[in-house]
Amino acid sequence: MADMKLPRMLFGKILRSPYPHARILNIDTSKARKATGVKAVITANDTPKLKFSLHPPLRADKMPLEEFKVRYVGDEVAAVAAADENTAQEAISLIEVDYELLPAVFDPEEAMKPEAPKIHDDESNVASYLVRQFGDVGLGFKEADRIFENRFSTSRVTHCCMETHGCIAFFLASGRLTVWSTTQTPNFLYKEIARALGIASRMVKVIKPFVGGAFGGRRGMDMQDAICALLSMKTGRPVKICNTREEEFTTSRLRYPMVIKLKTGVKKDGTLLARQATVITDNGAYNYKGPAITGAAGLRLDLMYKVPNTKFEGYVVYTNNQYGGAFRGFGSPQITFAIESEMDMIAEDLGIDPLEMRLKNSYSAGYQTISGAKITSCGLQECIKKGAELARWREKRGRRDGRGIGMATLVHTGGGTKDYGYNCSEAFVRLNDDCTVSLISGASDTGQGSDTILAQIVAETLGVGVEDIEVITGDSDICPLDLGAWGSRQTFTSGNAARIAAEEARRQLLEIASEMLEANPGDLDIRAKKVFVKETPDRKLSMAEVLAQSYSKKGRPVAARGFFDEQISTNRDLHTGFSNPFPAYAFGAHFAEVEVDRETGEIRVLNIVAAHDLGRAINPMAAEGQIEGAVAQGLGTGMTEYLVWEEGQTINPTFIEYKIPSAIDMPNVKPILVESIDPNGPFGAKGVGEPGLVPTAPAIANAIYDAVGVRIKDLPLTSEKVLNALRELKNGKEEALI
């Protein structure tokens, strides 16, 4: 995106609120309009003033340019299109906005109180309240031998894609709008932009060029896309808006911070009986993915291990903070930090090996959870055992000598979810007469390699080489329906659609070949672009000959559509929430070895073994790459990444102060691929895009406890916290809890 330019292109800049909570009294754009090189200045008055919701019927509460009120530092107020970036930057500084400052609230627990300033002028700042319960936790706790109650909290971290958000919008005189955007979901973005602008969705086309990383940060429309479109509509020229790194830190999405109050009841042999959680999510100033992510976190209560009684309450609370969005893991990293830290605390108290306790409570393929999740394939136990062996768990554990090893597991979707009420994918495969194959898919490659995986699936099905497949993705006009790159879904869902299309194309090819070879289609096979009779392989034809017959002699192209809708999920009971949320489940276990300096509190992570069940590794190198990259993000989330806010203002919006791991910061990372062969995945495969991030932080927290006996329950895990905890331990407190 950053490399693209169009003739007569203008540059856009957005004027944002410097205040966390204020009324807009007046906006004076006169000076900006007069400045040389400025072609358009827009405010809310230049928009249809429609409130936007990423996911109707979720409450629509955000306008691309706010009219009456700003609710976080960075809220969009006006925008400018000018001949170059510098002119645009100067022009927005010439826009004068009169604000009336309002009291602001930054802590979600404070924001929940009745006396807190109301961010959306409602009676309460609780944007959503979610409740989900199965079994009877009261009974479960009654039967428990021991009950544990702990409070955990997670931090604000952000995607830090190497390419910042950017878009080019070009509104043609014909009325059609083309938007090039760093998106993960071109087939939904065009509808979102249309909704925000109040125009018909067929008037918008989105093209996804090569994108420099996504990780969930490009899951839905950024206000930048709509504003850029408005500027182009105003000027009739292409307009480009690209975030600076500072704008990326301060205005793009981040992971929702959560406070998790966990209560777990167990038998003294370690059997889990009941689990109750209250989660308070900092929704930030606007709805985006807060409710969905909070709900996703709640799913884990009975998905992680066999738990017969659960109760989940989620409060999604508006604050005057920058609002979050989807980020690799989607609620799972937050709740897993809590659950997996507590598992170790429970095991320690009961005198049981935490690995054995996890194995004891784990399930296998064929299990159905109390909330309705159907586990079709499960490699968790294998992940735990193989990971423990490679990490040398038995040998390294329990010395309490400054070095320690800790583990944590995860469960995640391996095939997306019916977030929109459906989870489908469509693909087209055409066998061209030169034996190349065109695959047209709605899937999106943002660097994770989905184009390659889809090509491999089609190549395997058709008996051609991967190099013969041309994968066409990223154009909402041409590419068919696909929800896009999120939820670790594309290998499973888009892959199944591609496989179905390829199988139909194969069937058509074999039908022609069967006439030519005078055999039944069922007796034929295709390998290395040769169609042959299985019993007598000498009776063969090249694929080129068959296609020539089909195209040139009969005028029949070989082309097919594949549609996959994950039928596997049962419908959700609207009253209880009983449902199978995911079509396939991905599992994994991380083992982290650390060294803690008792004098300084410094934590050095030495080794991480990351074992992941991905069904079938269609491309082992790519799968390892996904896991290794995710572990790096998990390491950052756990230890060095933390957005620092004061009065709603990000005060560390640079790579200097917000530290993502560099090559020299990384420990040894050893991925292990476990293949449980899912019955519904393409060639048995499930997703692995998100899972690699989920258990890293709790594995490290558990390793720190093993090393020096201190428990940190609040991310990130810093040397200061360790040192303070060690001092408290020394001062004779029974248990140092941070």
Partner: protein, 174 residues
């Protein structure tokens, strides 16, 4: 007040008229349309803008274009030799060291600068050399593997033995 300067990039001479405040990165990307060097932070921490200036890996976002006059500048576009890819480029592909690709040009050039000076680096030396090139996708594992493999291949093809390369390394440190 624009200044006329001559830049030598990838062996070619370019005459450009630039605002003296413009960085080398901006001139490469906008005036010369060599978009391989990327803008990601703009203040010299992420390394996406890395190019070679007289053989040294530098952050081109921290270099004024006018400072680059008379220097030999190499960008990623100048790395391959005709149709053939540089061994580092091939190795990155073979080892899965590229995911989104945004950090890749800078990463490869930092690796090239390392191998030109130190043909057989150990893992620590490799990681140190690329410590200024941030990658959010790969976790660096396959990038390090790719650089190790490329160095082995390049040493073989130069017919320099690792021990004499070590001797060469020692002398450059003295």
């Amino acid at each position: 007040m624009r200044e006329k300067i001559e830049l030598k990039v990838n062996g070619d001479l370019y005459q450009v008229e630039v605002d003296p405040r413009k960085t080398l990165l901006s001139v490469l990307r906008e005036d010369l349309e060599l978009t391989g060097a990327k803008m990601s932070c703009g203040y010299g921490v992420c390394g996406s803008c890395t190019v070679l200036v007289d053989g040294k890996a530098v952050c081109s976002c921290l270099v004024l274009a006018t400072q680059a006059k008379g220097k030999e500048i190499v960008t990623i576009e100048g790395l391959s030799d005709g149709d053939g890819l540089h061994p580092l480029q091939e190795s990155f592909i073979d080892h899965g060291a590229i995911q989104c690709g945004y950090c890749t040009p800078g990463m490869i050039l930092s690796a090239k600068a390392l191998l030109d000076e130190n043909p057989s680096p150990d893992e620590y030396e490799i990681r140190s050399a690329i410590a200024g090139n941030l990658c959010r996708c790969t976790g660096y594992v396959k990038i390090v593997e790719a650089i190790k493999a490329a160095s082995a291949k390049m040493v073989r093809s130069w017919q320099i033995s690792p021990s004499s390369a070590a001797g060469r390394r020692k002398s450059t440190q003295d």
